[in-house]
């Protein structure tokens, strides 16, 4: 215990201060995390690979740097983990699939390079839905991750291990990827923060693609501040990623604590309030949070966008087409090496026409203009639902058909805007509830600012599950 907290409860900023003062060693943080993983992960199954030796070597190097007065940035000495679609040089990267079960990349993804160069301590690789698409599945080389709030419940996906590992306090931050909601969905179900940055802000190079034009890399974290600190390390132009944007990297932490006084927030309530299957608890929790933000000075107004189904259709068709293009040869040659759900969804890309994809891409431009000009042209941000329900149970999944996840994250993959899932409370059954904050392109600072205020008004920070 230090500062009245167990080591895993220290925020990245708190741990950073203690590391720099010498009050805590990175090796102690790593050993504490490894012990928690060893104790609790046999139930939660968040890790595919625990890199004990690498973690301890990273931590030792960080401690030596601190002792020598070398400061590599805010992640120095901090344990983290990666979704197992991020390439790690010399360390297996499987995409949770039989097809890549022996794949050992020669080079690391750019995100891993930046975290490693920043002195971070890599604890290992985390479970995912296969190729960030199908799941949760029981017919893959590794079992699915389980929700730390209730291990009978799913974590959401596809960054399933990332959601579980962060919620369980194994790491303060884990990298995920988000093509239709794969960061924000697990964040919502597991009660963590999950930030999908603007398309182009974080390099995708060395991350196995699902859909080239919809894939985003970003962090799941215990708090908004932890996510902001991570962004400071991983954001930035990568000339070798054709989707990377050459834009200045802002100070992500400086707006935290500024509150929401005077900010104009749009709410497309029709997205979620009338959605089939939407939980009353989720809707009420969002309404309460919006009232709190308004009491604290935000101007909250309801707006109307195209129906959620239109945004969703646009994204789904693009994902299906692009994923199929990537896996076309293996779907023909090794169909049974894919998990059942992955195959069932991915193979259907073969049924799309060129006109379908072109119409989706025409619609995509129209929807991006609708959101960014018609709404965010006069509002600072938008708030809507993230998941429409608390996490469902595993035994509610029909084994014959890939599960349909009740999240409303796709619109902001289609438009590329930054969006972040933030916890706002617990359901009667003790499962996390959440909402989603969406900003203008490259305006992550405002998204984080609003997220930090939501943490404050809901009192969420500090709530964590009792682990099984």
């Amino acid at each position: 215990m230090i500062l009245g907290k167990a080591l895993h409860e220290l925020s990245i900023a708190e741990a950073g201060t203690l590391l720099r003062s010498g009050a805590v060693k990175s090796t102690a943080l790593a050993e504490h995390a490894l012990a928690r993983i060893e104790r609790h992960d046999p139930t939660l199954r968040s890790f595919i690979l625990v890199a004990r030796e690498r973690a301890l070597a990273d931590a030792e190097a960080a401690d030596q740097d601190f002792a020598a007065g070398i400061d590599r940035g805010p992640m120095q000495g901090i344990p983290y983990a990666l979704k197992d679609i991020y390439d790690t040089a010399g360390m297996r990267t499987t995409c949770h699939s039989k097809l890549l079960v022996d794949n050992v990349p020669a080079t690391s993804s750019v995100v891993e390079q930046r975290l490693s160069a920043g002195g971070g301590v890599l604890l290992g690789k985390l479970g995912t839905h296969e190729f960030a698409y199908g799941g949760p599945s029981f017919d893959l080389p590794f079992p699915p991750a389980r929700n730390p709030w209730n291990s009978d419940c799913v974590t959401g996906g596809s960054s399933s291990g990332s959601g579980a590992a962060v919620a369980a306090g194994f790491v303060r931050m884990a990298m995920g990827s988000d093509t239709g909601g794969s960061i924000r969905g697990p964040a919502a179900y597991c009660g963590t923060v999950g930030l999908k940055p603007t398309y182009g802000l974080v390099s995708r190079r060395g991350v196995f693609p699902l859909s080239y034009t919809l894939d985003h890399c970003g962090p799941l974290a215990w708090s908004v501040e932890d996510a902001a600190i991570t962004m400071q390390v991983i954001a930035g132009h990568d000339p070798a990623d054709p989707g990377s944007a050459s834009v200045p990297v802002p100070d992500f932490r400086s707006p935290l604590g500024l509150g929401v006084e005077g900010l104009r927030i749009a709410v497309p309530r029709h997205f979620y309030a009338g959605a089939p299957g939407a939980s009353r608890e989720v809707i009420d929790a969002i309404d309460r949070t919006l009232e709190d933000l308004a009491r604290n000075g935000a101007v909250v107004e309801e707006v109307r966008l195209s129906d959620y189904a239109v945004y969703n259709a646009c994204g789904r068709i693009i994902i299906t087409a692009e994923a199929y293009a990537i896996h076309e040869q293996d779907l023909r040659r090794r169909p049974l090496d894919y998990g059942r759900y992955t195959f069932m969804r991915m193979a259907l890309g073969a049924t799309l026409s060129a006109a379908d994809l072109t119409q989706a891409l025409r619609l995509r431009r129209e929807l991006a203009i609708e959101l960014n000009k018609s709404v965010l042209g006069s509002f600072d941000a938008l708030i809507t639902a993230s998941a429409l329900t608390p996490a469902p149970r595993f035994d509610a999944i029909d084994p014959a058909t890939p599960p349909t996840v009740q999240v409303q994250t796709m619109p902001f993959n289609v438009t590329g805007n930054p969006s972040m899932s933030v916890p706002i409370g617990l359901s009667r059954d003790g499962l996390p509830l959440s909402l989603q904050v969406v900003g203008r392109p490259f305006d992550e600072p405002t998204v984080l600012r609003i997220g930090a205020e939501i943490e404050r008004v809901t009192g969420w920070t500090g709530r964590h599950p009792e682990l099984p």
């Binding site: 068709i317 259907l348 073969a350 049924t351 995509r364």
Partner: protein, 79 residues
């Protein structure tokens, strides 16, 4: 255990979407295990509804989101 497979050929008794789906998959060289057909058909029907939502009244000037820009092309060449 070997799984049975289904092809579009000899499937004339099946109605509507299923025959169409299986024809398109077979044309692409994909063999579908029989026990996966019902679940895939559900997804296929969802996708058919989604494809309809993509089509709006729009003029020929409404261009897709991935139209080339010289900057994009040059950025690739600059690596």
């Amino acid at each position: 255990m070997r799984e049975d497979s289904v092809s579009a050929q000899g499937d004339g008794g099946r109605l509507g979407g299923e025959a169409e789906m299986l024809f398109l998959l077979e044309r692409a060289g994909i063999t579908v295990p029989a026990d996966r057909v019902p679940g895939m058909l559900d997804i296929y029907r969802d996708m058919t509804a989604m494809r309809a939502l993509l089509r709006r009244a729009r003029t020929a000037a409404s261009e897709p989101s991935n139209v080339y820009s010289l900057e994009t092309i040059m950025r690739g060449d600059a690596i």
